[in-house]
């Protein structure tokens, strides 16, 4: 079977090299002072990162992006948790409709979403185009498919209906049962979809560019503007951006590993705090 193993290894090694070269090049470029005619840069510097962190526009855009991601994902949790709960438990006939509504964004690319939003919100009673609020709204919609999947699966795992019935028979009101039983048991199960949504929004460019552009500079828009100015600085931005994504996906991977191994234990830990 040795021959059978060598071929897959060659394929995978080639794949990894192919996938990592652009990343490595960006990394090297961000720490290169000059890099002209050699395989590796001739001299090194951390100056580009220093310049970057000296630029208030960068730090501001970074905070802005984190803030808007946090806001949109938070809004999604706060709104979707009760919505899905009510539909699943009390209005099961509406579940098909809900399912269609949350899957629409999956089929609509950012550009198409932007077209309708620009028309609606550029003028008229709710002229929020160009402000961060239009982004929060559309980001809520953009992460719906992921959040819905996460919450729905989590509710299925804990057998929501059984738990609610048990709680009601023990004298709990609907609100009480939702707060004390459903929320603490569902939350640990949706950490993965929360982080996934977060990292998707963190790298979002289309909607931000078309809907708010320079008026609310997110990290991606900042990067785009820097692109034409200085290649080295831009690569430093990419590296920083990628670090954030790496940290996020690291947490994501660790979480899904824990959750995969013993989902019940994880749910217990999360709610005990």
């Amino acid at each position: 079977m040795k021959k059978g193993r060598a071929f897959p290894r060659v394929i995978l090694t080639a794949t990894l090299i192919y996938l990592l070269i652009p990343l490595l090049a960006t990394l090297l470029y961000s720490v290169a002072k000059s890099w002209q005619n050699t395989i590796l840069p001739e001299s090194w510097t951390l100056g580009w990162f220093r310049d970057l962190f000296m630029d208030p526009r960068f730090t501001l855009s970074l905070w802005r992006t984190l803030w808007i991601c946090f806001l949109s994902v938070g809004l999604s949790v706060v709104v979707m948790l009760p919505t899905i709960f009510i539909v699943v438990v009390y209005l099961p006939r509406l579940e098909k409709l809900l399912n269609v509504l949350v899957l629409i964004p999956y089929a609509a690319p950012g550009v198409v979403m932007a077209v309708g939003l620009i028309k609606l919100y550029s003028s008229g009673p709710v002229a929020i185009a160009g402000t961060m609020w239009i982004l929060v709204g559309v980001y809520f919609v953009a992460v719906l498919p992921y959040m819905y999947q996460g919450i729905r699966n989590s509710m299925r795992t804990i057998r929501t209906i059984d738990l609610i019935e048990a709680a009601e028979l023990l004298g709990a009101s609907k609100l009480m049962a939702f707060r004390r039983i459903i929320v603490p048991n569902v939350l640990p199960g949706i950490r993965v979809s929360v982080l996934l949504s977060f990292s998707i929004l963190f790298g979002e460019f289309v909607l931000a560019n078309l809907l708010v552009g320079g008026q609310f500079e997110t990290i991606q828009i900042y990067l785009y503007h820097r692109l034409s100015e200085s290649g080295h600085l831009a690569s430093a931005v990419v590296i920083c951006y990628f670090l954030v994504i790496l940290i996020l996906s690291g947490i994501l991977l660790a979480l899904s590993g824990i959750l995969g191994r013993q989902s019940t234990a994880a749910s217990k830990k999360g709610s005990g705090q």
Binding site: A167, E168, L170, M176, P184, Q262
Partner: protein, 354 residues
């Protein structure tokens, strides 16, 4: 005066009738089992009593009070689920305390009651454990304690033992019955397992297709099945048509009867053909009530403590159970045997579905 009274309950799901003009009475402190095949409506009836499912028509009275219009949480009815439905985010102590804290009991009251319950189910040392750390049997005991803690007037149990292994199931049902007797709790227990129903109940209500077919003590339900369904479901009775019975007994009198007859497999004795019977001859033997005839063993199956024979006698197929003791004669496929049973053991059955 009945403690729980259920009158004329009707329930229809998507135009199929699940419960049909159903009536039921339960006395205080009784353990009543709703026994029936899956889909017979027994769980639905339980859920109607708890208020988790609305019924289309009918009423539920508990202690003389009509609880039909009340919300589940106001009915003072406890329920144990097949899936346990323990709250995964709470430990055993908090699970048992949940109902009490919903009733705004003082923490001192809660503590003493929870400890009492833990002792009752013998899980005091597991108070701080979380549901996933317990075995299925332990989880179900906690679930029982959680429901008992709030002292409900009636306890409903929806197939509480079905998710457990056979061994634990047998052990737990004994324990359940003991707890029920000790606390004096009125219980309505749903199961599809006739052995379980026979061992733990004061009274069995046999259900089929949304109706209660037969009600009675375990002994009555087992030894006097009312109709063909009861006979087939409760034991593996031989159910014979009038014509078959007249062939078997060689008495034409039965052949005109439209009804059916049940004959318990263990009521048939299988012996060596010592009388030298010929295939068509029959004999009444020494005892006038006993019927003896020749049979041919078609199949012999070992079931552990009994051997089940499939025997052909006078053109009729019968199942006969014989205790697998040291003394038992063992027969094989193709053996000619002499079978004997009491004519009185052939029970006339009421037509099914009324």
């Amino acid at each position: 005066m009945s403690y729980l009274l259920i009158e004329n309950v009707n329930k229809t799901y998507n135009s199929t009738s699940v419960l049909h003009e159903l009536n039921l009475e339960v006395m205080e402190g009784e353990m009543v089992t709703l026994l029936g095949p899956s889909g017979c409506g027994k769980s639905t009836l339980l859920r109607c009593i708890s208020g988790l499912t609305d019924m289309d028509k009918g009423s539920v009275h508990l202690e003389g009070r009509n609880i039909t219009p009340l919300a589940p949480k106001d009915r003072n009815v406890g329920m144990v689920f097949q899936s346990y439905a323990l709250f995964p985010n709470m430990n055993v102590y908090d699970n048992i305390a949940f109902g009490l804290s919903m009733k705004k009991k003082s923490s001192q009251q809660i503590k003493s009651r929870v400890e009492e319950m833990l002792q009752l189910i013998d899980l005091t040392e597991k108070a701080k454990s979380y549901p996933h750390e317990l075995s299925g049997g332990q989880q179900q005991r906690v679930s029982l304690a959680r429901s008992l803690a709030v002292e409900p007037k009636l306890m409903l149990m929806d197939e509480p033992l079905s998710a457990l292994d056979a061994k634990i199931r047998k052990h737990l049902r004994t324990e359940l019955r003991q707890i029920q007797k000790r606390v004096g709790m009125t219980m309505l227990f749903v199961t599809h397992d006739q052995e379980e129903a026979l061992t733990i109940s004061d009274k069995i209500c046999l259900m089929n297709q949304g109706r209660i077919v037969q009600t009675g003590s375990p002994d009555e339900v087992y030894s006097k099945p009312k109709d063909e369904f009861a006979a087939r479901f409760i034991g593996s009775y031989n159910v014979l048509s009038g014509e078959e019975l007249s062939m078997l007994l060689a008495e034409p009198a039965y052949s005109k009867s439209a009804g059916k007859y049940a004959l318990r497999p263990e009521a048939i004795h299988v012996k060596q053909n010592s009388l030298g019977l010929q295939p068509t001859s029959t004999s009444s033997g020494s005892d006038a009530a006993a019927h003896i005839c020749l049979g041919l063993v078609e199949e012999a199956v070992m079931l552990g403590n009994i051997i089940r024979y499939r025997i052909e006698a006078n053109g009729v197929r019968l199942l006969a159970d014989v205790l697998n003791g040291d003394q038992a004669m063992k027969f094989h496929e193709g053996d000619a045997v002499q079978i004997q049973f009491d004519r009185q053991a052939c029970l006339p059955l009421a037509p099914s579905g009324t």
